[in-house]
Symmetry: C2
Subunit: 319 residues, 2 copies
Amino acid sequence: MDAIPSHFLLSPLSTLSSSSAKRSLSLPSSRSSKFQISASSSLMESQNEGQGKFMEFPFVTASHKKLMVDLVSTLENRFEKQLLPCKLPPDVQYYQNESGTAQASLQIRSGQSDSLVDFVLGSWIHCELPTGASLDITSLSAYLNLSTDAPNFLIEVIRSSPTMLVLILDLPPRKDLALWPDDLKTFYEDTQIDTQRQALEKIPEIQPYFSSSLYIRTVSSPTAIMVRIETEAGGGERVEEIIAKHLDPISKQVLGIWLDHCACAKRDVGEIERALLKKRDGIVRKKTLEVDLDSSFPRLFGTQVANRVLEAIKEYFDV
Amino acid sequence: MDAIPSHFLLSPLSTLSSSSAKRSLSLPSSRSSKFQISASSSLMESQNEGQGKFMEFPFVTASHKKLMVDLVSTLENRFEKQLLPCKLPPDVQYYQNESGTAQASLQIRSGQSDSLVDFVLGSWIHCELPTGASLDITSLSAYLNLSTDAPNFLIEVIRSSPTMLVLILDLPPRKDLALWPDDLKTFYEDTQIDTQRQALEKIPEIQPYFSSSLYIRTVSSPTAIMVRIETEAGGGERVEEIIAKHLDPISKQVLGIWLDHCACAKRDVGEIERALLKKRDGIVRKKTLEVDLDSSFPRLFGTQVANRVLEAIKEYFDV
């Protein structure tokens, strides 16, 4: 994993928490005023363009793109009208650094007020490396709100060369499972989600991956799929085959488990539990942003762009 | 790991919790009366014999025995007079099944009332398998009391054949580290304990090991060393070499970190935190015993012996 800067794994894509409360969808004040000046129709058009850009996944391979598009579509179709359109400004939905060597797209869709979904965040980042290779990170994460204590959903696919890929696929818990073994049973044992991890374990090119951030390990579930796929030089086709034959169906299974057993589960969250959930979600969010994005984003995209994107993300993460 | 019954990993040796309160050292009532009849001097002699038996580690290889004896001695020497002698009855300090195919030794030493140590538990189990091979599990765990919220210590070495070994080496946290990132920093980041896991990762015969119990994974720390060492047929000597050259120094490093930074750390535990700590310790203990020992011990040692040993353990675990 030395080829992949470890901080990339702590991109917005892997901030494993959910917003603790419905927040206003207004942009930060300095930005709101700018967009209030724009005609709303042209803003809408730009947003639609942004949406298109996100779903293009223009820099990744065919099997990688298919995996991501299918997951985003499955999730969006399942929630149908529960999700509001992405309200991010166009220059946050798509952004790049000055030289154009780093490009990215971000989409955040909030859940309606009667939904259990807080928001769904999708992203891709493409970065040309000094070595001539490129780094591509695609991610999709879904955060539930405080009406439920069920886990969130997260997938992150990191391709740092044709022969190397890291997959993080998890239902990050929102409670201390050691203290709540019944929740462990409900969401992780009864759903048999670990069979997906076990299936990947059998493939010779796949090795467990340990994030260099202990905090990221801490907030992962006991069935988290964190794997590195590495083939020999020239083995890019084998990586494609592994994506199509294994990562694709397994990620769909995990999303299916989340949709069926977490995102739609009726949970009884008492007042005290809700307060703790809010506190925990908040700390996880704050800590993850603190250790990661504040330093890596300016390096990748320059201070101005990084600040713009981070401010927008922080609005949703409520920190 | 198919050769090792998964429930062995949930032996008393890996019940990753600490007793929530100083408990009386008296035996369960039915047994106390028996021992009250014994002359105290002969009981003392039997206890000393039990202690000797535990430290013999009679069935494991030389390097495996050295590792265990050194760890037990280091821990006992460091605590010196803080630990009371083992008060377990002789037939709990050493026990076997009817046919003699399964033998085991158990030692539990409580901390003095002014110590941060709740109790230290050491054990070995030797079991002849129907295949002709034998299974040996040795373990040492140390549990802190409610005066501190620092992590516990645990090592478990499982040898199911000359060419196969599993090591579990961890400082199991006693708090939800996602909620307490400062504790993660203090005990796991600042101590650089993960460098020990990283060192083992580089050895080709060593692979990460995933416990079949999601609960055991849940109560592990983010730097837990859970590895399987497997060599080719006839590779027993290589396993010995790996124990002596790698597992031995690394387990001593981890114990050293625990002794220096956890077992002796002055921690300020407020009343509310202490109550939560007691609740969490209690649930972890109860759950671990429930999912494991209640079923595996009777299978190994027969109902009568199993009940005797389990009752004694439960006294210390306060469940």
